[in-house]
């Protein structure tokens, strides 16, 4: 994992640089009107103004980037946090108890194929136009991947470890806390990584439709004003935020799962 923090390997920059250079050349060639496909340099300029208010070319957004990012990040954090707590608790319960599995799982499995986006009408009626419908959608998007991975992690706990735990005098609660939960951690983190991706997708979707702030809102609003440079800057911002939050989860995972070091392929890379 330490290699994530190192930028000593130059080959990682080759593909992005080639794409940017090709795009810049294509935009400047005049094959498309520059307003429809702005060059990377134009995007960068708009982005810089959005962040630092350089010449005010992004008008009301100039210097406003950090607030838009914070608005979106807050929605992701809230929805993802609620999803994590609920999905892990419920996942452990379902994985551990046959009774709870039979009682709850069929209902959840029926809700799961419904795309979170299709909840938007209901979310707006229930929660109005503000943070809450976005948080609700993020929650829906992150909940199921975390839940399914937690269930899988609990169900595949080595039976012999439970025996060893019962042998040293553990009751049901201690077995869950000291054996089942730590043993399921690798699966839970896999679920968190899938979940954080869905979380960003759904924040942006919700902001386009049901919220009047955040990076997704800026993206959609700029589209109405034909400011494709800002649209692309917003897309890039979302990509960056998604990357950073995934990196954060990976760093936490590397710390929590350091006992796997050297026993798995991913562990051997650091």
């Amino acid at each position: 994992m330490a290699s994530l923090m190192r930028f000593g390997r130059p080959e990682r920059f080759v593909v992005p640089v080639l794409i940017l250079a090709g795009w810049e050349m294509f935009s400047r060639s005049g094959a498309l009107p520059p307003a429809l496909l702005p060059a990377p340099s134009a995007v960068a300029w708009a982005w810089l103004d959005w962040v630092f208010n350089i010449d005010g070319n992004t008008q009301s957004y100039a210097g406003h980037w950090i607030f838009d990012v914070m608005a979106s990040t807050w929605r992701v954090a809230a929805g993802f946090g609620i999803a994590t707590v609920l999905a892990v608790v419920l996942g452990v319960a379902i994985g551990w108890s046959r009774f709870i599995e039979v009682t709850i799982e069929p209902t959840l499995q029926m809700l799961r194929p419904i795309p979170p986006v299709s909840w938007i009408p209901l979310a707006i009626i229930w929660f109005g136009i503000a943070d809450k419908p976005a948080i609700f959608l993020v929650f829906l998007g992150a909940f199921f991947p975390i839940l399914l991975n937690t269930i899988h992690g609990v169900k595949t706990v080595d039976r012999n470890l439970i025996r060893a735990g019962a042998m040293v005098g553990g009751g049901q609660r201690q077995l869950l806390r000291f054996i089942v939960l730590p043993a399921a951690m690798p699966s839970i983190f896999a679920g968190l990584r899938i979940g954080i991706g869905s979380a960003w997708m759904l924040t942006v979707t919700a902001e386009m439709v049901a919220v009047k702030s955040g990076v997704g809102y800026v993206l959609w609003d700029s589209y109405y004003f034909l400011r494709y440079d800002i649209v692309i800057a917003a897309m890039a911002s979302i990509g960056l935020l998604g990357y950073v939050s995934d990196l954060l989860i990976r760093l936490i995972a590397a710390r929590v799962l350091r006992w796997q070091h050297g026993t798995t392929l991913s562990g051997s890379e650091g």
Binding site: R163, A164, A166, V168
Partner: protein, 257 residues
Amino acid sequence: MATIEISGVSKIFKDAMRKTDVTALTGVDVTVQRNEFLCLLGPSGCGKSTLLNMIAGFDKPSTGTVKVDGQVVEAPGSDRSVVFQQANLMPWLPVWENVAFHLKMRGAQKGERREKAQIYIDMVGLTGFENHFPAELSGGMNQRVGIARALLMNPGVILMDEPFGALDEQTRMEMQNELVRIWQHHKGTIVFVTHGIDEALTLGTHVAVMSARPGRIAEMIHLDLPRPRDITSPRFNDVKRHILDLLRPAGAAAAHS
């Protein structure tokens, strides 16, 4: 009062898929006195592990009773600790946390756990490896951690299910000597499952020779060979020959004579 009393125990496994019953054990009576070292010796499939699991409380007899210290065994308990065939350590905990896992379950503070763990880590010769994770240790070292974990519980009975089965010959002999040393120093009742005749004769004060299908005790042998035991001495070989005769299938024994 005997420490372990097994009377009239049989175990029938229902094979639901094939709709047949498999008799793993039948009519087993064994008593183990305090501080005895009993080896359950027999071929695979003779039910020796099943018998051990019933003493541990992982399995229940179909008929008969298993009593430890006069109490009928219903469930696993910290009065009987088990050393498994695979060490079964928690891979996410360092050595010392694994050794003191029993104390963690009982909610002991970190300082106390660390201090107690050190005593048993030293006893099994793992000083210096306290903060290693199980994946960083060899099979033999992991098994030592498992033994330290069992010893820390300070149980009346230690149950061992072929704990050295997965080790190479040299490590196994070393571990056997270590175990005898710890047992002599520590005192306690041990039931040790093995399919190795030499191993049983090196370790036990008693050897219960078992035969298969259905599993039962063929003979209970009391060993009073002096320690450390010389596996090449004539007396050792006399007992070994006797056990080999017991273990030989009936047909082969007839052909032999």
